[in-house]
Assembly symmetry: C2
Homo-oligomer: 153 residues x 2
């Protein structure tokens, strides 16, 4: 696990607030925020069940919102904070949007695509320059998931 | 290359019409359609530039539309036809939506995620049951891309 800066902890706190909202809505609690020039330009959480949409993961929703606000699909100057390691779809979207930096909390050994099962944004053939930082507030990010699944059983 | 059935050729023809619309709009020409019970329930093409949206690939757009129409995120009973091999984001969305069958045209050696660079929907750890058929009308699917890039140079 890498050491977290105060800034990283502060933004992960915001992502965790989004994850908590997901849990309240009966969604797997994953939250994400997108930061550009020190401003949160998009924040959201997993909405798959309520939106009946297989693509409505937190990361996809914030990337779409940021693209819409900035009216461009390249987000190289932004940092995505997300409580859980992105899945293949979201890691692919991070690559497609050329996101400059990804900071995530809990790793996902089953389907994580930023180093666990796949390493999509840093695959050498894709020539991406994304910086990935893992394990920020990992325990809290994992705990909110574990509590959700325990309650659901 | 596998032999194409008449049905597969017919549906790929529809996906090619979508790709042609993308080219007219100055978008990289990739088209997709989603078929369920012999009905086309969603059709679309790449809209990344016009929508300023990194996630607006043909496959994501048809999956979102189909989820919205059917009000569910599981699309196991459907077939996705797409003119080019899905990228990691789209292959991840295919997995997330549990799409039953994917039929694609041209392979993508650079970023293809249904067998070329990655094999996301059939990765053993993901326990997916997606059937993938490659190379249907591959030459025509490739030609529309090549012509687009030649004109743009």
């Amino acid at each position: 696990m890498e050491l977290a800066t105060d800034e990283e902890k502060m933004y992960m706190e915001e992502a965790l607030k989004e994850a908590a909202l997901a849990a309240l809505e009966g969604e797997i609690p994953v939250g994400a925020i997108l930061v550009q020039d020190g401003r949160v330009i998009a924040r959201n959480h997993n909405r798959r069940e309520r939106a009946h949409d297989a693509t409505a993961h937190a990361e996809i929703l914030v990337i779409r919102e940021a693209c819409e606000k900035l009216r461009r699909w390249r987000l190289a100057d932004s940092t995505l904070y997300v409580t859980m390691e992105p899945c293949p779809m979201c890691a692919g979207a991070i690559y497609n949007a050329r996101i400059g930096r990804v900071v995530f909390g809990a790793s996902d050994s089953v389907a994580g695509a930023c180093g666990s099962l796949f390493q999509i944004p840093l695959h050498p053939s894709l020539h991406a320059n994304t910086i990935i930082k893992a394990g920020i507030e990992a325990e809290r990010c994992k705990k909110i998931l574990q509590e959700f699944f325990t309650r659901r059983r």
